[in-house]
Symmetry: C2
Subunit: 240 residues, 2 copies
Amino acid sequence: MKLKVYADRISQPSRAVIIFCKANAVDFEEVRINLAKKENQTPEFKEINPMEQVPAIIDGRFKLFESHAILRYIAYSFPGVADHWYPADVFIRAKINSILDWHHLNLRRGSMKFVMNTVLAPAFGRRLNPQSASEAEKLVSSSLSKIESVWLKGDAKFLLGNPHPSIADLSLACEIMQFELLPDEDRERLLQHHPKILQWVKNVKNATNPYFEEVHSVLYKAKPSLLENLGAAGRRTSKL
Amino acid sequence: MKLKVYADRISQPSRAVIIFCKANAVDFEEVRINLAKKENQTPEFKEINPMEQVPAIIDGRFKLFESHAILRYIAYSFPGVADHWYPADVFIRAKINSILDWHHLNLRRGSMKFVMNTVLAPAFGRRLNPQSASEAEKLVSSSLSKIESVWLKGDAKFLLGNPHPSIADLSLACEIMQFELLPDEDRERLLQHHPKILQWVKNVKNATNPYFEEVHSVLYKAKPSLLENLGAAGRRTSKL
């Protein structure tokens, strides 16, 4: 039975897993779980992931959730995956784990909160919270600076100065790509002082194309209607 | 050269790493980094961990931060560590990774924010924020319920129904032990509906004693002065 990947491409960790499978020629079936339609909250999906989040996988009788755990599992278990994604070298692997662990409460937390409270909330039936967005922006900015100064020293092509991308490059780059959903001025403000970040995301894209662009095209398509929604929400808010 | 562990026992991930080393007879030197004195922000410590957080380790010439990455690295690299802590079995290891990844944005985020905004803030020169504490309490409660229903099914002794503890048991149990710093009524409110959690933390304690109790004794010692501080802070706030 083929590996099943339950995902919504609007979710950055979903995209990381899908791109990883495609770039490594893993034979898999993508099952869309539409978050905006709350398909992650159905009894059927809760059987797959009781945490109600995407991505999740089923491989034979084995179920797994959390994107980093899934990326590690696929890297371990599918013989076609090149070593550079999650190197057997104990020291490099430990450094990649360190980046992946750091990610959750730093770049991911900041980015998730900023994008939700700047553009996504109305699509999920929630209100935009400008104060949350402002706090999140600080965390995003400090996270981007840390990535540049700690893991992209000198002319590093990929994190840790590795010559090829790892699962950490893919996870973090997909998070930054989420900014494509933002109004242009917000995206520019976040990224304009981070030329190394921009070059590095381009490197990850080039190393995983055509899949990187193909999987991210959902963002470019979703943006106009999200911004329209946002305009309507803004007008609603201003009437209150 | 001995493994050096830079830690402050008031930090739950620091305790997890110290207990892990002790329980596995790893030969290490503990170097105290006093967070309340901001020793994590000195230029010397930033050379060890540019993210300014504990725990961090130096093993020979190798530096590493993020507690989960450190626990995995020690499990990989020190031959005396029993397999059950981070099993070589691909499926069990993947499930343990899934718990560790989930932890960051759920139990850890909730617990950190709740304890900070209920008791620790004044010791770090910050104000208590009751609204943050209230949001955090919801996240802690839902996280504890999820741990019980997903990973402590039936009469599971350890997470995933494993017969022995893993690094995930230790990391999450140390997080829950942080509630020992709280005023009794807060701790009771958080834990009273979670008998399985209480029994499981006891199991982790029994499996790692005397080290578990020894390393956690810092919390029992710190509590009275923190609560005193808190009283003073409360009086200051009420005068505003």
